[in-house]
Subunit: 572 residues, 2 copies
């Protein structure tokens, strides 16, 4: 809300005793407070809406000619890093689409660069038109079965509370820890007592779910079925319906939205890559999908505005009303809102899908996070048995199969056998130059030759590489490392494509347009190498995530996630 | 929410790993989160709900046999003092009706005893089963046209924020001050920046209302018409629908309640006297009225529970869910909820309309607040003209008429003329022994003889007396003063009825049953003296309130409220 020093001027404008800065005439206001479309003018002074109604004068007057005006959309939960650009560039992607605020969890960069990574995200966002709120990352590292670049305990997270954009605690992914009163988890909950605390508890139900909620965890964005979501709603959780690049749950959950339930339901994107953001959109895409599925447009827009603001106790956003920050999305078609103009904090920032201001690149940071002593690195797997475990990748799913296959042995070592779609996978520790490499095999990626590599590898973000032969694998991996992180495809010594992600090995310092092209080039190269997956880089990044069943690989080796324990590569 | 120290035990109970304290079996839960009736069990440990669902074990199990269970009702705005009993006794009145929490504004006692008066209310409430929240009184005194016992500036109010029950700032009645950026009002708004700030802006509209909302004021309970309420709702205000003893707005406003609007509408009682609380009820009465008017029962109950908790950001009440305090109202008839059992913080506190625990009287406090030096007090009105102004009381309204009548003069003094219903009125300053007396005349009260007096006189709470002759007036006034405050009726030297209100001159230290009987005795005596008003004492208490038009009397004399200025008694 306005500060005390700002109030006298704002009140004078609201009373009509002095002109405003801007009046939007003849608007059809999507009034998310009263739940109706209201024909009115909207008066703005400085960063704030000061008046709704007729009779205001201003230095600048804009005739909206009956266009609809909604509060700027707010993404209820998103990891900016998944777009592979920093917040200021992410803003260029989403703000022109009417997404003027986002509640983010910077846990990707936090796993690489700790609290300083989070502070970088905050500082970079402040340069942009996006109001980027942050929830402190609660699960860094995700487990001790892999090596992350940082470890954040309650005492590390608590100082973030003095940052004005920090709301509360981000998704408590360690739900077994919360349910079972793990002291480290409880310390984090205690540090954020009274603040919003987000959850992440896929398929948790019954008594366990009651305990998770009793711990003070208030939301979930991992539901996949209506019945799962209804149980959580009944226990008082706020639900975020998600439509990510790799987890598309919106359509399945929309039947839950009724006049009785809508107030406790929000929309979120979680993880979206640049091509999806460009071609489909961000929260605006979810709003259109929601309306197309038959939900009243005012309700759909509430799920992207006031509901999010209420869930996070953001007092000055989420509705167009006196004293609230003037974040506005203006559009013509209520059934399929696409922003023609976007105002952020009272200023016109985007028109017809593009920012009106030039891009101002920020200083690259954390460009030295891919720290590998190649002399220590070996991808060789001495044969110690005849059968090996293999990760079975499943298209469009984060879960994998736990397979066992015959080992192909050459020169005393187990090697890839692309003809049977058995590829070698390596996770090279890249934070501390330990030379530690986790080695294994994977089926389902489909490369017939060459290799792909990347430093995006949830959540520890070590250097992960999958390939048909060690030479290609090393070429891809070294190309990525040489760029300070990124994605690459190689065949033999030839690097076929490279998307540098020099910021923490996760994000580019280039315009998102280049990032999109670079990603497409990498995907094309992987396709030429034989992969049939839609996005083998993203699939690879989750083959290293040791908290999702069944078999995963980290720098410490194979993990049987169902047993939550390391498991040897050789099965017999 | 539970404290960190409480969590491990609560989580173990929620998981089902240890028995709970209490399980309520076979409940029909009014699930205000999901907006439905849910057949379930409810498990409780310590003060908290820990589980919703089947399969919990407990030391005590109660079969509810399909009874409905709602979250305890929360009054969104109430002045406890209007019931003429302190909070612990007020709790005995309302808790058995299912009202387990209330957001209160202790501005009556604050006008007498300042911050210490507010602290008394907090301390007294802590002895009770009622969760009494406090909003800091923003308008003490109401104006400088009368003499209150205290003056509270922002620096006086701010220390209250360290009290756990203090939520924010109470109704900003000085709406001209807020709209026009009065520095004193802005200082108070600044002191409570980020906290809930309640409003009070009867009939404010248009640009003025926009300014009031832009100042950060978030609610209103003074609407009388749907269109007024709709304008406020559209500007983002939360509406409290009020059904007080003397201001009954609920029925007129219920047409505003729709599935789109209900989330931002709450119920409040504001001011209710004991007989109304006993015979009609508190918030439970409003819930029944709301349902009887055709509103869905779950929606009506939301307006008394989750909506209030959300408006005031009370995280641990307002719904029956894990981790929330176990305040429960249990009833059989969903169409007319009347609590059969009430649980507060997990304990059974009331059954069949009465507390299960004995009354534990508190220490009386502020018993020396009626400070009058009778030697200085004179009720004589030397005749200085032939025509006098007279306050025209209007039945069931707080506004008055500004009349002029012929003066009856005897012995050089203007005197009452009961035959023409012209009575004398005096407001005797009672805080500082100044001897100051405001004198005037009133029509419409109807006493044919005798006098009535009281120390309840909004908001300054001086000793107000109305009578047919000075002897009766002095007898009534001195009876009240002798009791340390209260209400009385007298005829000549005979005191016909006396209700002592020794706590600040506003509240009794006796059981509410005695207070109700005492009030009825005073009303009966006033009726015998000729008054036709339903409650001439309450009418009298508002004839002294110098912020409601048109003509009022304070200890400083007559006030022309429309001009907001003193005005002489003699008109010519």
């Amino acid at each position: 809300m306005p500060t005390p020093a700002e109030l006298p001027g704002l009140l004078a404008a609201a009373r009509g005793d002095r002109p405003c800065d801007l009046v939007l005439r003849d608007a059809q206001l999507v009034n998310v407070a009263s739940g109706e479309i209201q024909a009115t003018d909207i008066a703005i002074r400085d960063r704030y809406v000061v008046g709704i109604g007729r009779g205001y004068r201003a230095r600048e007057e804009v005739d909206l000619e009956h266009a609809f005006v909604a509060p700027g959309f707010i993404d209820a939960h998103v990891h900016v890093e998944s777009a592979m650009v920093p917040p200021s560039e992410f803003a260029r992607l989403v703000v022109p689409r009417g997404v003027t605020a986002a509640v983010t969890d910077p846990h990707e960069i936090a796993n690489v660069a700790g609290i300083e990574g989070i502070r970088f995200m905050l500082a970079d966002a402040r340069r942009s038109a996006l109001a980027m709120y942050v929830n402190a990352s609660s699960c860094v590292p995700a487990t001790d079965l892999g090596t992350a670049g940082a470890r954040l305990e309650a005492r590390d997270l608590a100082p973030l509370l003095s940052e004005p954009e920090v709301l509360g605690l981000a998704e408590v992914m360690n739900y077994p820890g919360a349910v079972n009163a793990d002291p480290g988890v409880l310390s984090k909950l205690a540090a954020f007592h009274g603040r919003p605390i987000d959850g992440h508890c896929p398929a948790l139900t019954g008594h366990g779910l009651n305990a998770y909620v009793a711990a003070g965890i208030e939301s979930d964005h991992e539901c996949t079925r209506v019945e799962e979501a209804r149980e959580k709603l009944r226990l008082g959780m706020t639900l975020f319906l998600r439509e990510a690049t790799n987890a598309r749950n919106l359509a399945a959950l929309l039947p839950l939205v009724t006049p009785s339930t809508e107030r406790r339901i929000c929309l979120c994107t979680d993880d979206r890559v640049v091509p999806d953001l460009v071609e489909e959109g961000s929260i605006d895409h979810l709003v259109r999908r929601t309306i197309a599925a038959g939900v009243d447009p005012v309700v759909a827009i509430r799920m992207a505005t006031i509901n999010v603001a209420e869930r996070f106790r953001i007092a000055d956003r989420g509705m167009v009303a006196p004293g609230r920050i003037a974040d506005l999305a203006i559009f013509r078609d209520l059934e399929a809102p696409r922003a023609e103009r976007v105002y952020a904090a009272g200023r016109l920032v985007a028109r017809d899908g593009a920012m009106v201001t030039p891009r101002t690149p920020g200083a690259a940071a954390f460009t030295d996070t891919v720290r590998i002593d190649w002399a220590k690195v070996s991808l060789a797997i001495p044969a110690r048995g005849r059968r090996v475990r293999a990760i079975g990748a499943i298209p469009d799913q984060l879960i994998t199969e736990h397979l066992t296959v015959d080992a192909k042995v050459e020169g005393g070592c187990a090697v890839a056998e692309p003809a049977r779609d058995v590829l070698k996978m390596a996770v090279i520790e890249r934070h501390f130059r330990s030379g530690r490499v986790g080695l294994g095999f994977v089926k389902g990626v489909g490369l017939r030759g060459g290799a792909i590599a990347g430093t995006v590898a949830h959540d520890h973000h070590n250097l992960v590489v999958i390939g048909a032969d060690d030479r290609s694998m090393l070429a891809a991996a070294r190309a990525v490392a040489g760029a300070g992180g990124g994605l690459a495809a190689a065949s033999g010594d030839d690097v076929l494509a490279l998307l540098p992600l020099p910021i923490a090995g996760l994000m580019s310092d280039r315009p998102y347009e280049e990032v999109g092209e670079g990603l497409k080039a990498c995907l094309a190269a992987a396709g030429k190498l034989g992969s049939k997956l839609k996005d083998p880089f993203m699939a690879m990044s989750f083959l290293a995530l040791e908290v999702i069943p069944a078999l995963k690989l980290t720098d410490k080796g194979l993990v049987d996630v169902e047993k939550f324990a390391p498991v040897p590569l050789f099965a017999e």
